[in-house]
């Protein structure tokens, strides 16, 4: 009951926060002067008529009302007007068509990074201050320090160009689960994984190292558990309390894609879409993407909070 009340309260706050941010976004983007580029010999009135028909010259409150009306009466989030690659296309359709490649390379990357990162972290924690730990920690620092696009260029140059193990860019087409497509995604997946592996390893090592020194670990060993049993049953479980939310957070960031990686490997994903929308002052796509990411971000914060209870039943949100 406490949990239900807590969830309802959080959802209520979510709606309020979402509306406030959306209004701010709408007002700010609409407050910018409208860009009217007229070429030599072009009829300015045609451009004006197009903009007028879209209501761009209406007062901002009227535009906001029409925007909301479009969403709630027709499910219409508008069309891309200024994005050269998607001109006059529905922003929802554009986003939907570009989401799968982004999701896939990030999910694959997480599938690789989570087990390897956590395993390395556990190993380093268990071998704390030994040479294995030093090697892992140094490597982890190296991978955390270097931006992912550097790996991307190296991976592309070595594995795709020199060794020709993979294609230089992701293949065209919608056959996302074919072996060829998977192979073409791997360079991007690998490039994205390095940073994540290093992050998970460092985090796991830090948490586990701390947990392993707790008194209850000593108690566990004294009551007869082996080191492996004590580690997996007690230490790891407690260490996962802060790690699991970071995994959820990783899934959330998956949705926004990686601008640089997608550019380098020509992945037709959503990575650069938000930036393009802002640069091109494309109102509808900016508002849709803002709304989407705000909503996902807010939902994720609730999911993360709730996940503490899943990992450690002693934690009960909303309980007094």
């Amino acid at each position: 009951m406490y949990m239900l009340k807590y969830i309802m309260k959080r959802l209520g706050l979510l709606v309020m926060t979402f509306v406030i941010i959306e209004v701010i976004c709408f007002v700010l983007i609409k407050a910018l002067p409208i860009v009217i580029n007229v070429g030599i010999g072009q009829d300015r009135q045609i451009i004006i008529a197009q903009l007028t028909a879209r209501g761009y010259f209406d007062p901002i409150p009227v535009q906001f009302w029409n925007y909301l009306k479009g969403i709630f009466t027709r499910g219409d989030f508008g069309i891309c007007y200024n994005l050269p690659e998607y001109r006059n296309q529905s922003v929802v359709e554009v986003f939907r068509s570009k989401l799968p490649p982004t999701l896939l390379i990030n999910v694959y990357s997480s599938l690789i990074a989570i087990p390897i990162g956590i395993a390395l972290g556990i190993f380093a924690a268990l071998k704390k201050n030994k040479w294995e730990d030093q090697v892992i920690s140094t490597t982890v620092m190296l991978f955390i320090s270097v931006p992912s696009f550097v790996y991307a260029f190296l991976v592309q140059y070595i594995f795709c160009f020199k060794l020709e193990w993979f294609p230089l860019t992701m293949l065209a087409g919608y056959d996302y689960f074919s072996p060829d497509m998977f192979l073409s995604m791997l360079p991007a997946v690998i490039s994205l994984s390095f940073g994540s592996i290093a992050g998970y390893a460092r985090y796991t090592r830090a948490e586990l190292t701390e947990v392993l020194t707790n008194d209850y670990m000593l108690l566990a060993r004294t009551k007869g558990l082996t080191k492996a049993q004590a580690t997996t049953r007690h230490a790891l479980r407690n260490a996962m309390v802060p790690i699991f939310p970071s995994i959820v957070g990783e899934f959330v960031s998956v949705l926004s894609g990686s601008l640089i990686i997608e550019k380098i490997f020509a992945i037709p994903g959503v990575g650069g879409l938000y930036l393009m929308a802002i640069n091109a002052q494309d109102y509808d796509s900016f508002m849709f993407l803002s709304g989407f990411y705000i909503l996902i971000g807010l939902l994720a914060s609730i999911v993360i909070d709730l996940s503490y209870g899943v990992i450690d039943p002693r934690i009960r949100m909303g309980a007094k």
């Binding site: 009829d43 009135q45 296309q89 989401l99 160009f161 230089l168 919608y174």
Partner: protein, 823 residues
């Protein structure tokens, strides 16, 4: 833990299942990775994928990537061949293509025979869509009707009333129902024909009215004569009288209160009051300072009128079909599409290459009704494979937005039946991938997977001497644009930071002379050449006979004079012209000192103030950074040894995005790199870009007040002093021009001399500082060869049409990585 694992697994499984549902897009027709013998694939790449290749609505060059392959033409350019079948350098012919005959039928509309006002185009009988259905003359009429449909406000409708090809009544049809206030000069021919109740006296309209298009004052006194960037804002803020007094030397014969009393009233109302009428008469007399004694007609330039374009039938538009294959067009402005001997002139292929053509059945299916009241209907036509139709050499067979499109041979193209195309179009398929990152494309090119790639500055030293390098110039001159708005500069000054130095001509000239353009182009561009004028080698005054403006004596002289090269010091004008470098650091330093002294005397700069100029850009890229760093170094070096030593520097601001030019014109920053291309075959018209406040970067420079004295016939018989803008009107025979000096009405050499004089005036104010003439460089794969190794204005290197293959796809797959492109 087990519960946790389940949650993670569940999340992943859900994601993957969700994605599998998305796996339903169109499949690629045939895997282009599989090489085939006797198949010739051109592998291209683009940084921005096309989105709309509908001829009626396309907006930018990205869309023409597909359009240029799926459309046919009536007339086309071709190489000129000598008796041995070899291409003649620079030569061209104009051939019939989708049309078999063109006849001037001007006499049918009451014009003089052969005057170029009406044409009959006879179409080939085998014009077909890619599905084999026939194309008739009526299809072009239907397409034009859709193009001009007033309900759609199609983006390209103005091509038929705002350019060289003005189809009779096209504008009136396209604007049916458009209602608003327009310049009275647009609505009425003269005062006598005007409705006095519809002549509203207006001196200034609020910005928002001007912006949303409800008010169009294109030819009022003030839009025409007061070339003030913020006219409306200035007049609203300071009052008309104060503005006129500061802008013009003429005495203003009315007070602000008096002129305000006329505002918004109709001429009929004004005339009914003796008090108002007296003020009105004064206003008319004031307008005579600009227009001469035109009497009551001057009411039109003070007034705006409400107007609604009336309903007209499409039958009244100058295009109709007679039978299946005869298409007639009627023009409001004559076009010489035929030479006196009856053969096609270059204008046939240039101005009337084709008319819009959409496939009726498909177009009707693709209509999208407006979602809300007030919105415009749109069309999905030519935005995907399913909605595309081709009547050109290729057809679209695959399209994935933002990733790839594939064009394949359209077997129903009429050209494959023509002897003129025999042995051409060897390319079977064009595969174009979207690759934003140049480095990725470069690796792909080296792997043999891209057929041609632009040479980036980072590799230009190694590859621009390659035998596979291809250079292409165009009419774009990149110039440094220096801020001219005093208000804009002053508003951004802070304590100890001065920007108004830019207002001193000596200072601007010093900046120009401090740039070693040869060094700049070598370090900052791939293949561009130093530029010194607003025109370059690609601006023709007589394209048919290869008459290049820049090659004329007048054009060369003006460059020598602008950059201080004394022609008498050289054996010939050509030698003097060749000696121009635009770089003279010593003189530049002297000019810095003189400008500084002037500024100190005027009190605009204080001792110790730094001059910090902001260089703006659309994006923070390697290229813009490279150019900025070069300029920063050049200008800081310029200051060494002058009174501004250590006090002149540049700062970089790449936050302007797509609004960079609008922001510059509004005075938001100090320096940008910009220029114009277009109208390359009409230098007299091209001047518009540097003289009209609608286009010019230096909006603070009043070209209506910058006077030029010119001896029109170079014999002293008619020496006139007029503003640059007035000279421009004369060169183009615009409304209100004092004398018609347009092409065909004025001796060509004299006209070139006048254009050069105006160019000189533009250069000498140094708000526009030419930097380089744009040339692009590309590497061509060993897989293919262009039809010609010499660039041709009309045919370039022959394009896909003349491209030949050294290897088919199968052979290429074996050899593609074995070439050295440095050699």
């Amino acid at each position: 833990m087990r519960k946790t694992s389940k949650v993670i697994f569940g999340l992943m499984a859900t994601s993957l299942l969700g994605l599998s549902a998305c796996n339903k897009g169109p499949s690629i027709p045939e895997d282009p990775k599989t090489p085939t013998a006797f198949c010739y694939t051109y592998m291209d790449y683009t940084t921005v994928s096309p989105s709309n290749w509908n001829e009626l609505t396309y907006q930018d060059n990205n869309d023409t990537q597909i359009m240029s392959h799926i459309g046919g033409s009536f007339f086309t350019f071709n190489y000129e061949f000598d008796a041995d079948g070899e291409i003649v350098d620079g030569g061209f012919t104009v051939d019939y293509d989708g049309a078999t005959n063109l006849e001037d039928v001007s006499e049918l509309i009451g014009k003089q025979a052969g005057s170029g006002y009406a044409y009959k185009i006879t179409l080939r009988h085998d014009l077909k869509w890619d599905d084999g259905s026939p194309i008739k003359a009526a299809d072009f009429v239907y397409s034009m009707k859709q193009q001009l449909d007033p309900a759609y406000k199609n983006y390209r409708a103005d091509s038929f009333y705002n350019g060289s090809l003005i189809i009779h009544n096209a504008k009136n049809y396209a604007k049916i129902g458009d209602k608003g206030f327009f310049a009275s000069t647009d609505v009425y021919e003269d005062y006598a024909s005007a409705d006095l109740e519809n002549l509203y006296f207006h001196t200034a309209m609020p910005d928002e009215d001007a912006e949303d298009g409800s008010f169009e004052a294109s030819d009022t006194l003030f839009d025409k004569q007061v070339i003030e960037p913020d006219y409306y804002a200035s007049v609203t803020k300071n009052g008309l009288v104060a503005c006129l007094s500061s802008w013009f030397a003429f005495e203003v014969p009315f007070t602000q209160e008096e002129i305000d009393s006329l505002e918004g009233k109709t001429v009929k109302e004004i005339k009914e009051s003796s008090t108002l009428s007296a003020i009105y008469d004064n206003a008319i007399s004031y307008a005579e300072n600009f227009y001469g004694p035109a009497g009551e007609d001057l009411a039109l330039v003070w007034c705006v009128s409400e107007y609604e374009y009336p309903e007209i039938s499409f039958d009244q538009v100058g295009i109709f079909a007679d039978g299946d294959y005869d298409l007639y067009i009627v023009l409001d402005s004559s076009l010489d599409l035929l030479k006196p001997d009856g053969t096609l002139s270059y204008k046939a292929a240039y101005n009337l290459s084709s008319l819009p053509l959409v496939k009726e059945s498909l177009y009707e299916e693709c209509r999208v009704a407006p979602a809300t009241e007030g919105a415009l209907p749109t069309s999905r036509y030519n935005s995907s494979v399913e909605t595309s139709a081709s009547w050109g050499p290729y057809k679209l067979t695959y399209f994935q937005a933002g990733k790839q499109y594939i064009l394949e041979r359209n077997e129903n193209w009429y050209g494959y039946n023509m002897k003129e195309y025999k042995g051409q179009y060897q390319t079977d398929r064009i595969v174009c991938n979207t690759i934003e990152e140049w480095n990725t494309a470069w690796l792909s090119f080296q792997q043999g997977n891209i057929t041609s790639i632009g040479i980036d500055v980072s590799i230009s030293q190694d590859y621009k001497s390659s035998s596979r390098a291809v250079f292409t110039g165009d009419d774009y001159v990149a110039s440094l644009q220096l801020q001219s708005s005093k208000e804009g500069l002053k508003n951004r000054e802070t304590a100890g930071v001065d920007k108004e130095m830019l207002l001193y001509p000596d200072f601007r000239k010093a900046l120009s002379l401090a740039i070693d353009r040869a060094d700049y182009t070598a370090k900052c561009t791939t293949a561009s050449q130093p530029g010194f004028g607003i025109f370059n080698e690609y601006h023709y005054y007589d394209v048919e006979n290869a008459g290049v403006y820049r090659h004329t004596d007048a054009a060369k002289k003006v460059i020598c004079e602008t950059y201080g090269v004394n022609i008498d010091d050289y054996d010939s004008l050509d030698e003097a012209y060749a000696a121009v470098t635009g770089y003279n650091l010593e003189l530049a330093k002297q000019l810095i000192n003189s400008a500084y002294d002037e500024a100190v005397a005027a009190g605009t700069i204080a001792a110790g103030d730094k001059v910090v100029l902001t260089v703006g850009a659309a994006a923070d890229s390697e290229a813009t950074r490279r150019q900025f760093n070069y300029l920063k170094n050049a200008f800081e070096t310029l200051a060494v040894g002058t009174k501004l030593e250590g006090r002149l520097t540049l700062e970089f601001d790449a936050s302007f995005g797509s609004k960079w030019s609008t922001d510059f014109r509004a005075g938001a920053y100090d320096i940008c790199t910009g220029g114009w291309s277009g109208a390359a075959w009409n230098p007299g018209y091209f001047l518009l870009a540097y003289l009209s406040p609608d286009y010019m970067y230096s909006k603070g420079w009043d070209t209506s007040k910058a006077m030029l004295t010119y001896d029109i016939y170079q014999d002293g018989s008619d020496v006139r002093t007029m503003s640059l803008l007035d000279w421009y009107d004369c060169l183009n025979d615009n409304e209100g021009a004092a004398i018609n000096l347009s092409e065909g009405h004025y001796d060509t050499d004299l006209r070139l001399g006048l254009i050069a004089a105006i160019e000189g005036e533009i250069l000498k104010v140094y708000y526009t500082v030419p930097l380089y003439n744009f040339y692009s460089a590309a590497l061509l794969s060993y897989k293919v060869n262009y039809g010609s190794t010499t660039y041709n204005t009309f045919m370039a290197y022959g394009g896909i049409r003349y491209m030949t293959y050294n290897y088919d796809d199968l052979a290429w797959s074996y050899v593609k990585t074995h070439f050295d492109y440095k050699a």
